[in-house]
Symmetry: C2
Subunit: 223 residues, 2 copies
């Protein structure tokens, strides 16, 4: 029997590579995106297109009250997106975002009777977000085993983070090996309506450096 | 300085007693309810009224996509609410509900800079729900310390479960001591539009037995 998985798919480089990885493992993939009042909508359009292109079995978008997330530069137009990385936790940090996304994915996985959740966090280039660290993922894994019917009555739902120990350059290399078209993916914090990147925010810098370090051309569409 | 807390308030006996408890501790209370497509709406009306009556500083309702929770008798009209307790996890179990509620509360607490989250789970009468067990709460406490800016930069947000070791009878006694009017609270899984209880579901049985065991009159409004 083939296994099935819920893939957290933002439409960026990392989550797209996760989807390609899960497909290559033979998993039936149910992609899940969140509409939480992101500044740009092209991220959601990219996620839907990528889900289809990479052969996911289904794609869902869950809406989350954007007021929930007041106080982050990613959702609040009054806070400027920084052009240079600072120290500590960046202003683009969204309160409890990955906790909420994983909690939603856990409920969805249980409804689908999926065996796994795949999330594209990576520790090396995690940009200071507390909820991208391996310790956070390990804690959620523990929680998931206790939180659900699946965990109590049978096998806990696995929380897979296949990119956890990879650098951006290694993610570029893995994605290319798996046939990912990175031109389709949108990583930029402030992409325009067509999904073209600013080239200046933290996400753009990390991504661009990843292509350079991997010795690959940067196929990102910039504005 | 007074501390502030996010109180998960469903409008039932347990969460209402939690709010009264937090107020008695001198906490500034921000109550949080979830609209997740419950069968009856009187629960949400009760929560809003109780929040005001018990002097909370604010009340919010977060809507969650009800399709997320397909597969539970509490949200799916095609699954009958059982009239007698069965063995194991009940069909009224909602996938990952408390994980999702706590995750949302965590984000909200971080935005409010609240020090605590208060949840009314109790282990003795937990009815078989995996996400009401002390081990689940302990795991979420660990996660919360790792998941947020507050946990990394200062004091983690505390996850308080003041009813954890209390029986329903002890909750009745505590609530009455704190001045809770239990006639306002709605615990029933299938209350009518006016908040009148069925008297037959698990929640009604546990609640009724709580009044009996506490030696107090059952002030529940039955239909």
């Amino acid at each position: 029997m083939s296994t099935s998985a819920v893939i957290l798919l933002s439409g960026g480089m990392d989550s797209t590579t996760c989807l390609a990885w899960a497909r290559a493992q033979g998993m039936t993939c149910h992609t899940l995106a969140f509409d939480y009042g992101q500044r740009h909508r092209s991220e959601l359009a990219a996620a839907a297109a990528i889900s289809t292109a990479l052969g996911a079995a289904s794609h869902r978008v869950i809406s989350i009250d954007p007021h929930q997330f007041a106080g982050s530069a990613l959702t609040d137009a009054n806070i400027a997106i920084p052009h240079a990385p600072g120290n500590g936790i960046p202003v683009t940090y969204v309160p409890a975002r990955n906790t909420i996304f994983l909690a939603m994915a856990l409920g969805y996985a249980e409804v689908l009777a999926a065996q796994s959740i795949v999330i594209g966090v990576n520790a090396i280039d995690y940009s200071g977000y507390p909820d991208c660290r391996p310790a956070f993922i390990a804690a959620f894994r523990q929680l998931a085993a206790l939180a659900t019917r699946a965990g109590v009555e049978g096998q806990p739902i696995a929380i897979l983070a296949p990119l956890q120990d990879l650098s951006k350059a290694e993610i570029v290399a893995l994605g290319e090996k798996l046939g990912v078209d990175f031109a389709r993916t949108v990583s930029c914090y402030q992409a325009d309506e067509q999904g073209r990147a600013c080239g200046q925010c933290d996400a753009c810098r990390l991504r661009h450096q990843g292509f350079i370090d991997a010795g690959r051309p940067d196929v990102t569409r910039y504005d």
